[in-house]
């Protein structure tokens, strides 16, 4: 029979010393710090979740780039004629690219706000359901504000801008004469 006894130290810096001391004193018992206890009990699950979160970031960025590229190429092909008209009126390729950039960023901003709201509501519920199949009874997102609200949005914004720039480069190839000629 096992039983678990928990002890909280008033000075957390003494944890390592006390663990060694109790381990020497009570040979029959398994003594470990809370960090060690969590690592031993849920270590593989935590590592899996960590890897999954990095993989999710990478996949999200790749999907973001692919979708943005696809849409931009499609929009440039679809709006070939208006683009040619705008060029004839004196708009430069950077002017036209800037217009598409502003559209991309507007959609991205809506996506980021919605994504953040959903991740903090539905996301936790859905991820909890998946994680519970690994054996954890309950699951909560430990949100790192710097990563969640700054680094990830910045990475996504950067990816979208780069993809938009590449996707709209085709607008520069559109020749006014070929697109407007009657």
């Amino acid at each position: 029979m096992w039983c678990v006894l928990s002890a909280e130290l008033s000075d957390p810096s003494l944890v390592d010393g006390k663990v060694s001391e109790y381990a020497n004193k009570y040979n029959f018992a398994k003594v470990s710090g809370i960090d060690g206890y969590i690592a031993q009990t849920f270590g593989s699950t935590i590592r899996s979740v960590g890897k999954a979160s990095y993989a999710a970031i990478a996949v999200a960025l790749v999907i973001t780039i692919l979708i943005t590229l696809l849409f931009m190429k499609m929009l440039v092909a679809k709006y070939r004629y208006p683009i040619a008209v705008m060029k004839a009126l004196g708009f430069t390729n950077p002017d036209i690219a800037a217009q598409y950039m502003s559209r991309s960023v507007s959609v991205l901003m809506i996506g980021l706000v919605l994504g953040t709201l959903l991740a903090n509501t539905l996301g936790e519920m859905l991820a909890g359901a998946v994680i519970s199949s690994f054996g954890a009874s309950s699951f909560h997102f430990a949100v790192n504000p710097l990563t969640s609200y700054l680094l990830c949005p910045l990475m996504m914004t950067g990816s979208v801008l780069i993809a938009t720039r590449i996707g709209t480069s085709g607008a520069g190839q559109i020749k006014i004469s070929e697109s407007i000629k009657e």
């Binding site: 004629y81 208006p82 008209v85 705008m86 060029k87 004839a88 009126l89 004196g90 708009f91 430069t92 390729n93 002017d95 020749k175 006014i176 004469s177 407007i180 000629k181 009657e182």
Partner: protein, 252 residues
């Protein structure tokens, strides 16, 4: 009279290898400030390509095009765009207005990309022009809810927004009925009377007969030319006779 456009030995071709098509085979042309020039010729004669080459919308393969003393081949994209925006106006056969903008927004569109713009003045000017061409009541109208003639008038307003030195028209009456076409041509004649040079590409002898000078093109070359007096509004029959006679001579 000062030359506004000088084209020297312009060569332009499309395609490559066996599919190469020589659209212009060494065309030279000069156009004076305030002149009204019409270019006529059968389909494929190179008249539209000539217009695009002279306006800098197409880079020429060989030869030289100067606009107001500036060699177009040496201009960077931004300089050329600036020239298109400030010195040239374009009117095309099809209403080249943007569908997601109303008539007024379409007219002021190119003026709005000027960084030192005064929006109030731009809108005021657009309204004055709209009144001048008879579409004052349509400023908030969606472009899908106006006639072809009204769209073309809006296109002319847009072309006039920058007080251009030259207006280039590619079959501007080609998609209109005869009444609308005549009204549009009256507008063009009025613009020219105000000192703006006009170059029109057309199949229609009646449209060309309004011009002071008509160039006849065939197979990428100017094969004939006729000079007429300024259009007075009453000498159309006489002008038409001269134009059609020259068309027969030039086999156009």
């Amino acid at each position: 009279m000062k030359k506004i456009i000088i084209g020297e030995n312009i060569v332009k071709s499309f395609g490559e290898g066996d599919e190469k098509c020589n659209a212009l085979g060494g065309v030279s042309i000069e156009m004076n400030e305030g002149e009204f020039v019409a270019v006529m010729g059968p389909s494929g004669s190179g008249k539209t390509t000539l217009m695009f080459s002279l306006s800098g919308m197409d880079r020429v393969d060989d030869g030289k095009v100067s606009f107001a003393g500036r060699d177009l081949s040496t201009l960077r994209e931004e300089e050329l765009a600036d020239l298109h925006r400030t010195k040239m106006g374009f009117v095309f056969q099809q209403p080249t207005l943007l569908k997601n903008l109303n008539i007024l927004d379409n007219i002021i569109l190119s003026s709005m990309c000027n960084k030192r713009k005064n929006v109030t003045k731009i809108i005021e000017k657009a309204r004055t022009l709209m009144k001048k061409v008879g579409i004052a009541e349509l400023e908030k109208r969606d472009i899908t809810r106006v006639s072809g003639g009204q769209l073309q008038r809006a296109g002319i307003c847009r072309a006039l927004m920058s007080d251009p030195d030259v207006i280039f028209g590619d079959e501007p009456t080609g998609a209109l009925n005869s009444r609308s076409a005549q009204e549009i041509m009256n507008i063009f004649s009025g613009i020219n009377a105000g000192g703006t040079a006009i170059m029109l590409v057309t199949h229609d002898a009646k449209v060309a007969a309004r011009a002071e000078r008509i160039l006849f093109m065939r197979d990428g070359r100017i094969v004939s030319e006729i000079r007429l007096s300024k259009f007075s509004g009453t000498d159309m029959d006489d002008r038409m006779k001269k134009v059609t006679a020259r068309m027969r001579e030039a086999e156009i």
